[in-house]
Symmetry: C2
DNA sequence: ATCTCTTACGGGATTCGTAAGGATG
DNA sequence: CATCCTTACGAATCCCGTAAGAGAT
């Protein structure tokens, strides 16, 4: 099993033709055909229907594996970028947004991370969930912490450990943003 | 980037020594050392501290990548097993639990899947969330559908599309189980 | 002196590309 | 006959294992 085979498979599935996929992958068709065959043999599963049609279509098993393969490839790509950016970000800036209710969680985490990376600057934003959503989509912030997660593509949400959130200040001015260089 | 390199890296991280990891992987030390070096060069990130200590320890970047790599390997393994079992399960049995509130979603899905795989039997259980949780942990059921997801290790939860759940029968006998061969 | 990681080199395996063979519309 | 997939073969690449070197305790 090889990452390359997963990439090949995903490309074939998306192109519908081995020939077209090979062109996109900048390799010749025969190797692609072989890699697909090897993948199917290794899995013991037929991934494509080869019935007379000109376009290859995924079998049911193929569809399931396609989703998984795509997810794995995305996770791998994100993981690589994450550690690479991590190395750079030791002297970079991370913009994080939070609702006022989650500020406690955010600020305690910031303290922890700043111990590890003294040169990492934080840029902290506060706002209501809808505003955080916009900031996130515009990449003005890299992450948001909220009790009401957004459900939209290109945005992943993760559950954080429960903490007691206490409202310390009345939310008078929810649209204002605060910048904290420390 | 290669799956093998990820496996190698994870093993090294868990063993703390290249020598021990190589023994466990049934390969010689030099190739392992090289693969690790290649991985670090490809990522552009130093994964281990080589400071005079006898045991290699993960750098901060290494720790992050270790978690990601382990997750990816698990997902890959699960994906392979999933499609392989899928092929076999065409004549197998799938045990699914559901709260009474989600039965509509479950039963409609069962109908869809049974069209694809006429020989796939379903074993459907009904019960309250806490009971489903136990059944799931004991592997008596393969999956559960509920409005109140469980948060525990070895259990993954996924959000399903919203459907209107209507209570058709009063939940008189929540602890009974029903088996539906069709 | 022992343990561990790194570098050097040769054999083996895997993969690619080009070329030829089938199958389908 | 045109298009696509598959099989066959030779060349290049990559990986592994053995052997030797370097560093640290």
């Amino acid at each position: 099993m090889d990452i390359r085979q997963l990439k090949y498979f995903v490309t074939i599935a998306e192109e519908g033709k081995i020939t077209a996929a090979a062109k996109q992958l900048h390799i010749a068709q025969p190797p692609l055909s072989r890699q697909l065959k090897q993948l199917e043999e290794e899995l013991g599963v037929v991934l494509f229907d080869r019935n007379k049609k000109k376009n290859l279509t995924l079998t049911y098993e193929g569809e399931v594996f396609y989703k998984r393969a795509k997810d794995i490839l995305h996770k791998l790509r994100d993981s690589i970028l994450e550690v690479q950016e991590l190395r750079e970000e030791v002297a970079g800036t991370l913009a994080v947004g939070s609702t006022i209710y989650c500020a406690a969680l955010l600020l305690s985490k910031v303290s922890q991370i700043r111990e590890k990376h003294p040169n990492l600057m934080f840029n902290i934003w506060e706002g209501e969930p809808s505003r955080l959503h916009k900031l996130l989509e515009n990449r003005q912030i890299d992450a948001a912490i909220t009790t009401t997660p957004f459900y939209s593509k290109n945005i992943e949400s993760k559950s954080l450990p429960d903490i007691p959130c206490k409202l310390v200040l009345p939310g008078i001015n929810h649209t204002a943003s605060a910048e904290m260089p420390t």
